[in-house]
């Protein structure tokens, strides 16, 4: 692969590029799914190609091709240069890259079992056993299960001398039970909604998830929701489970801290951010208990945002984002670091595949657990009156990331420290900073899970990326609940 990368870099240098990098990516994925006792889908996919990024006349160009022959690689590099020179016709100043020491490195996701070595029969059998458990519950009208594996090999080289080979492996699995009756479709998912739990690790994740063991309970809850009371409308104390809190972090912290959004680069599509540059180091983002990091290092855990190097060769880092409630950091790249006075990129530039331009993406944006031992049950016991909500059902936030509304699959009343009756259609809404400033308790490390969000969309053309979010259950005071159904 180094020879191919060299063809691209040499041609870029010969034609006057002031900087160039090239990435060859070889992706492989497998996806299996069942529905109501039958195969849903069974598919394998592979994709290979090269993406070449250059700076010429002070502006960016990018071109990509699946063809790795010398003639096409050189033609693609030439195309990237022509594009860069066209970009330069509409520029105000030259692109500046923060310095980064080039490295030669190999990095691989730590894993015990390569998921691609597991048999198809074994995995279909697992899914059908889960399916049978779900449909054994009277009232379940639809059962869906799925399991997914991905392997990405990438070779990166730059005109500055970087040469990095990475192998990333991810595994994901989950299921959902639906119950349709009367005028309601109720749903429960496990371990999380929208595909389940995803991590950068091997097949060992599947056993850890205890998928079959939880299926009966999850199906029973889907049916029981039909008899549950509607979530009331008003203002309440709420406790969120860790998966819902993970998505809350993703939407109301992870996206607004992306420096490209802050700088207006996403204004036409994904939106901008309320976190204007004047707020760094000044904004009281949350309460004293809110400590959030952007951590791509392996020691943070096997998140979908864990890697050795980002896609411009910057090593994985941990950036404090919120420190005891104070806003302390953005997600940055080599191009944007200087704008916040940083002398180095935060290492967050990633691309979906070989044919996409790397852009600032969340790594693992996680809230750190509470320091004092506190379980979910202890937190509920410590709550006089409130609602406990679990598993995301709907999520929406404005294009500057102020106003949000989340719906959850299930909730329970909390009265005098006890979990009471079940509530259907729980939802809550608010303004980002007001919400995080209302957090007055968070459970400890033993309750903390590093969740995977496999479907984060951003960019034009749109790219889908996996991100990680570690969270423990936490409590929030004075939150607006139930307005999702107001007026309907």
């Amino acid at each position: 692969m180094n020879e191919i990368l060299g063809w691209a870099l040499n041609l870029a240098a010969q034609r006057g590029a002031s900087y160039a990098d090239a990435r060859i990516v070889d992706d492989r994925s497998r996806s299996l799914a069942t529905k109501n006792g039958k195969l849903g889908h069974a598919s394998d996919a592979e994709s290979q190609g090269i993406g070449i990024r250059v700076i010429a006349d002070g502006a960016w160009g990018f071109a990509a091709s699946k063809d790795l022959s010398r003639a096409v690689v050189e033609d693609t590099a030439a195309r990237a240069l022509a594009i860069a020179r066209a970009s330069a016709r509409v520029k105000q100043e030259d692109v500046r890259l923060a310095p980064e020491k080039p490295v030669t490195a190999e990095w691989t996701t730590p894993y015990r079992i390569d998921p691609f070595t597991t048999s198809i029969e074994q995995n279909l059998d697992l899914l059908l056993r889960i399916d049978a458990e779900l449909r054994a519950v009277s009232g379940v009208t639809l059962a869906e299960t799925g399991i997914n594996f991905k392997r990405e090999d990438s070779w990166f080289a730059s005109s500055e001398g970087a040469n990095i080979h990475q192998t990333k492996i991810s595994t994901g699995a989950g299921y959902a039970a639906y119950a349709f009756a009367g005028t309601e479709i109720m749903k429960r998912s496990y371990p999380n909604s929208f595909g389940g739990q995803w991590q950068n690790k091997g097949y060992e994740l599947i056993a850890e998830l205890k998928l079959v063991e939880n299926a009966r309970r999850v199906a029973e809850e889907a049916v029981a929701l039909h008899k549950a009371a509607q979530c009331p409308e008003g203002v309440s104390t709420i406790i969120l489970d860790s998966s819902q809190l993970g998505l809350q972090i993703h939407e109301s912290i992870g996206h607004p801290i992306e420096l490209d959004r802050v700088l207006g680069m996403e204004a036409n599509f994904a939106g901008t951010s309320f976190l204007t540059l004047d707020k760094l180091g000044r904004l009281r983002y949350g309460s004293e208990l809110v400590n959030v990091v952007a951590d791509a290092r392996q020691e943070h855990g096997p998140g979908l945002g864990t890697f050795g190097f980002d896609d411009e060769g910057v090593p994985a880092q941990c950036t404090p984002i919120i420190t005891h409630g104070l806003f302390t950091g953005y997600l940055s790249s080599r191009e944007t670091a200087h704008i916040i006075g940083a002398n180095r990129s935060g290492g967050t530039l990633r691309a979906e595949c070989w044919n996409r331009l790397p852009m600032i993406r969340m790594t693992n944006i996680s809230i750190l657990p509470g320091e004092k031992p506190l379980t979910l049950e202890q937190l509920i016991a410590d709550t006089d009156d409130g609602i406990y909500m679990e598993t995301n059902k709907s999520w929406s936030i404005d294009d500057k990331r102020y106003n949000f509304q989340f719906g959850c699959e299930i909730g329970w009343e909390i009265k005098k420290g006890k979990r009471g009756r079940m509530l259907k259609n729980p939802s809550y809404s608010g303004i980002t900073t007001e919400f995080w400033n209302s957090m007055d308790a968070i459970c400890s490390r033993d309750q903390w899970t590093l969740w995977g969000t496999p479907n984060c969309g951003k960019g034009q053309p749109q790219q889908v990326m996996g991100t990680g979010h570690g969270a423990s259950p936490a409590r929030f005071r004075g939150i607006k609940v139930g307005s999702a159904y107001r007026g309907n």
């Binding site: 299996l32 529905k35 039958k38 195969l39 069974a42 598919s43 394998d44 996919a45 592979e46 190609g49 993406g51 502006a59 960016w60 990509a64 091709s65 699946k66 063809d67 693609t76 195309r79 022509a82 594009i83 020179r85 066209a86 970009s87 509409v90 105000q92 048999s119 009208t141 639809l142 639906y178 349709f180 479709i185 700088l263 207006g264 680069m265 996403e266 204004a267 036409n268 044919n355 331009l357 709907s394 936030i397 404005d398 294009d399 500057k400 102020y402 106003n403 509304q405 719906g407 259609n425 809404s429 303004i431 034009q460 053309p461 307005s483 999702a484 159904y485 107001r486 007026g487 309907n488």
Partner: protein, 464 residues
């Protein structure tokens, strides 16, 4: 790009590698380029070329798919093997149909299918980075003249989709596409416009830039309004953003799975009598291939007539399952050419939506002039489903939200959050415009009109 002859050759090579009862190959090939601008400069500028195959093999009720973008012999052999390995270990599904042959595909009445017009325009395919940069420069000049900041894209592509199967069916679709999307930003307001077409000559970037700029200027210093029920005028992009969320439910498989809001409602007066919806790939303002994931002709289907849901669409397998099921039957149960590539769990959906013109279409100005107090919405954002059966959706307004008073745009307003049932919304349409090809970010492109809707449910307001 891959030609149909080259694809036929690859298909023959694939067949030789396979021991399956049946083989189907989907082809994709294309080139695309996108120039992206923000802060009045081009900041991202990309191009790609890619093609590949997706191989489905079938062994007596067992089927699976494997895909690759490598078409050398070794890779083709490997992708066939991967597909067969996935298929062979399954439990046979007695409901899995043999692949269709050309006779089955052609068994379509003339009034249900007509070939769409050519959607390939050489001028669109030939747009260079330099031409896109020129276009962006003109948009930036509009922003500069109005002292605004602009962001957006100018893109073009050419691509093919093809299908071959071992029962002799083959089909091929070639298309181009060009798109311009523009946001204009002022200090505390913004405006947006977007347009796409197979033919770049149908785009008018300067007019889009001027309209987006006017919206940014006119919505400056937005006032905060109290949430509640308002008469709204939704521009076409806002209409498609929101109605697009219901078409996943307009398939037979969604009915069989009991995950559709149409369960127990087909044939009832669900929407207002002025709502008529067809799916029509041949419509001159539509786009896309005239065949589905199995190669069946994509037929014209009248989904909603005078507010009554008359039909849903069917893949071949779904139609057979529906005939055998106890589910209430409404309309003819037959394949309509809207299936996804097999195997899949979703079945089918209509994706060439045309909301038909009302008998007396109104312009936006006419809709506003009859509005004492209401909200004009340019665009919606981050829409998600709150309730799947009542079809309550939540989302935000964005990039140009205005208070209408006494028949005129009065001021910009801060963006609202809505929680609105689509059933209510389409029952409360007071007026519609002439349908246009519209493009948003929350749903696929459609041919839709602007709509004036009473009692649209805003529940919260944000800070800008």
């Amino acid at each position: 790009m891959l030609s149909k002859e080259e694809a036929a050759d690859i298909f023959e090579r694939i067949k030789k590698h396979s021991s399956a009862d049946e083989v189907e190959v989907l082809f994709y090939s294309g080139q695309s380029a996108l120039t992206r601008f923000a802060n009045n400069v081009i900041h991202q500028n990309v191009a790609e070329a890619n093609d590949g195959v997706s191989v489905r093999t079938s062994f007596g009720g067992r089927t699976a798919r494997a895909s690759t973008n490598k078409v050398d012999d070794e890779s083709l052999k490997r992708v066939v093997q991967a597909s067969e390995d996935l298929a062979k270990v399954q439990r046979p599904d007695p409901d899995l149909l043999p692949m269709p042959d050309p006779q089955e595909r052609d068994r379509v009445s003339h009034d249900a299918f007509s070939a769409p017009p050519s959607r390939y325009f050489a001028e669109t395919a030939a747009i260079t980075p330099g031409l896109r940069a020129e276009g962006v420069a003109k948009i930036v000049a509009v922003a500069d003249r109005h002292k605004l900041t602009t962001a957006g894209i100018f893109s073009n592509s050419e691509f093919v989709e093809g299908i071959f199967n071992s029962r002799g069916l083959s089909d091929w679709h070639t298309q181009t596409s060009a798109e311009v999307s523009i946001t204009m930003l002022a200090g505390d307001s913004s405006g947006w416009q977007k347009s796409n077409s197979p033919d770049v000559n149908n785009l008018d970037p300067l007019a889009l830039a001027e309209t987006a700029a006017r919206k940014a200027i006119d919505s400056a210093a937005p006032r905060e309004m109290t949430p509640g029920k308002y008469t709204v005028i939704l521009e076409p992009a806002a209409v498609l953003d929101i109605v697009g969320f219901m078409f996943w439910d307009f398939g037979g498989q969604a009915i069989l799975d009991e995950r559709s809001f149409l369960n127990n409602r087909i044939g009832t007066q669900l929407f207002g009598e002025n709502v008529n919806i067809v799916d029509d790939v041949a419509h001159p303002l539509q786009s896309g291939a005239p065949f589905d994931g199995e190669g069946m002709r994509r037929q014209r289907v009248s989904l909603v007539e005078n507010g009554i849901v008359k039909r849903v669409v069917y893949a071949r397998g779904t139609a057979e399952r529906m005939k055998k099921s106890a589910a209430p039957k409404v309309g003819p149960i037959a394949p309509t050419g809207h299936g996804f590539p097999l195997p899949n769990e979703m079945g089918e959906m209509p994706s060439n939506i045309v909301l038909s013109a009302p008998s007396q279409p109104q312009t936006l100005e006419q809709m506003m002039s009859s509005t004492d107090r209401g909200i004009l919405v340019t665009r919606l954002w981050y829409i998600r489903e709150v309730d799947p059966y009542e079809k309550i959706l939540t989302g935000m307004t964005r990039d140009g939200t205005f208070l209408i008073e006494n028949g005129k745009v009065h001021a910009g307003v801060r963006n609202f959050r809505f929680n609105e049932s689509l059933i209510h919304m389409l029952s409360n349409v007071e007026a519609m415009g002439a349908p246009v090809r519209a493009s948003g970010e929350e749903s696929f492109d459609m041919v839709v009109p602007a709509m004036k809707v009473r009692d649209f449910n805003f529940t919260e307001v944000t800070k800008f």
